[in-house]
């Protein structure tokens, strides 16, 4: 059965991902630093797991979702980065397939 949430209690890894999504959305200076050099920006967050850092660097929406990014934060993040709606929805569908078929 499909659940509304992947994590009943957020993991530390999800927290670290969400912290970045939240800051880039709510702090104009953070947003500027991110846009200037995304890789360097993400590299500063040494608490991130390698898989989370890689997903953020490549804006891998499906992976971020599967790692526990809050869907509302990830939605707004994709709007902010102007990810085309079609690509965003397709990435989520791919994440759903992965959940279903492993």
């Amino acid at each position: 059965m499909i659940n509304n949430w992947l994590q009943k209690i957020p993991t530390g890894e999800a927290y670290q991902i969400n912290r970045i999504l939240y800051r880039i959305q709510h702090d104009r200076e953070e947003e500027k630093r991110y846009v200037a050099n995304p890789d360097a920006y993400i590299a500063r967050y040494t608490e991130l797991t390698p898989v989370a850092a890689k997903a953020l660097e490549s804006t891998d929406i499906a992976r971020l979702y599967l790692l526990g990014a809050n869907p509302y934060l990830l939605r707004a993040y994709c709007l902010q980065l102007r990810v085309p709606e079609h690509d965003y929805l397709a990435a989520l569908k791919a994440a759903g397939e992965e959940l279903e078929h492993g």
Binding site: P10, H26, N70, P71
Partner: protein, 274 residues
Amino acid sequence: MAEIVGTFAVSHTPVMTNLPHAPAGLVSDSVFDAFRRIGERIAHLEPDALVVVSNDHLHNFFLGNMPAFCIGISERYEGPVEDWLKVERKTVPGARELSAHVLQYCLDNGFDPSFSLDLVLDHGMVTPLTLAGVLGRFPIAPVLVNCVQPPLPRMARCMELGKVIGRAIRSFDGASRVVVLATGGIAHDVGTPRMGFVNEAFDRRFLALLGDSDISRLCEYSEAEVNTAGNGAEEIRNWLVAHGIADSRGFELHHYAPVTEWYTGIALGSWRAA
């Protein structure tokens, strides 16, 4: 003592203001008409204050500190926080004395909400109040319920909170007429693989149960079936708070449409004043 002269609940999806023309004209027009009519009814009731029950969408709160319930106790609020909402940012008056009374009453009567003097409004309040044409017209007392980041408060607990808030409002002697507006839901997914699917059957059953007198069945159904209706459907908690405030009596549905172009089951309803 204050009287609750009206209790209303409506959906609040932001796409109604940032993508207003996504659905066919007849569909969106009838939704916008339903919002306008609710706004007219609220204005006609001439409230001294508007208690707005909604949820933050991770603008005020974050995983660093996530309250299950929070009551805003400011003299004014600004919003919307979202630049992309296509609604002009403005400052609206807060019903501080009523909020403070409700907060204290909750703490004295078995609930421990957090409070905030620094809430920014997001689409959860701004979109429906704008569509109803009453944003900033009446001082607001915001009540926020965590519907967006698990673990979430239980459905029955939200209804119980509503009962206490209802008693709090009725024991407030600083106003005579109070209107309640809950916002959110109903069926929709935000940012999940199921986004775009609207579980109309869930919505119709939930709305029917609101009109029924059996509150335990309503809460049990909500808790058990919300996972079939999407993470956005978790916002029915706000409707359950309103149901509790209205003493679980006299629900009437004004409008319902499953609007896939807005990803959401859009509903508007009210409870008859006791």
